[in-house]
Amino acid sequence: MDIDKNMGIVVVDDFATMRKVIKNLLKQAGYKNITEAEDGVEALKVLKSEKVDFIISDWNMPNMNGLEFLKAVRADSKLSGLPFLMVTAEGLKENVVLAIKAGVSGYIVKPFTAAVLSEKIEQIAEKL
């Protein structure tokens, strides 16, 4: 199945470095519509003002962390169906379980390669 490279993707991370790394990798993979947000609070504003089809979010962020953001997305009837990929340094088993229980679509532990990110996005997008 062909993945829609025009889908809107929001990259949420408090570190500009990681937003840039992920954005560069997405562009290399052919994705064109990428928006950034610094934390869950800002990301929720983006979700309500722009067309977003796919969320890539960090876990450890100030104001609203990735897990809180995920729960907020799943609790909102207009956003609950959005694919949500967590890309985080949090590899502890209990945190992965928490994210799965909260409805995460996929989970990548940093550090990661371009191939891993690309494959995971395609796996999730193919199920849509």
Binding site: N60, A89, G91
Partner: protein
């Protein structure tokens, strides 16, 4: 400090820098440090809590971090600026995460705070536990960097 803490931070550092920055650091022999002087020009520091408590710092010489950050970001950076301090924060976060994952495999569940970054010649690294800390030195062609760890289990072992 327990020597079991050395390998998770050593392996975590190698994993993060080879995967994200495409460099192959050569680790040196770990040693004890009793003062607070950082071994590099820019340092990321992160607090650790849980079944082991303390803090970890990652301290880069200017040459080393310019190479590492340039590789991570895919563009040449020639001076220590906001891009560098942001990158050091994220690298510290990733090394902490990779080390904590390995610590979990030896029965220690450790959570981390959000890292802070300090830059400047001869800056200080103040560990939560006061010290001494274990320094794990690394070298790449462009310069030196080090992991500076000061943690202890709840029993103080």
């Amino acid at each position: 400090m327990d020597v079991r803490f050395i390998n998770p931070f050593l392996n975590g550092t190698l994993n993060v820098l080879t995967t994200m920055a495409f460099v192959e650091p050569k680790p040196g022999k770990p040693y004890l440090k009793k003062d607070s002087l950082a071994s590099g020009d820019v340092s990321g520091i992160i607090g650790l809590t849980g079944s082991a408590t303390g803090s970890m710092a990652l301290s880069f010489s200017e040459g080393a971090i310019l190479k590492v950050a340039s590789n991570i970001l895919g563009e040449e950076i020639r001076e220590i600026n906001d891009d560098i301090t942001d990158a050091v924060g994220e690298i510290t976060n990733m090394v902490s995460g990779a080390a904590r994952k390995e610590l979990e495999s030896i029965g220690l569940t450790v959570t981390a705070a959000i890292p802070t970054v300090v830059a400047g010649k001869d800056h200080l690294i103040k560990h939560v536990l006061g010290g001494p800390s274990i320094i794990i030195p690394f070298e790449i062609e462009e310069g030196l960097f080090a992991v500076d760890v000061c943690i202890s289990t709840l029993k103080g072992t």
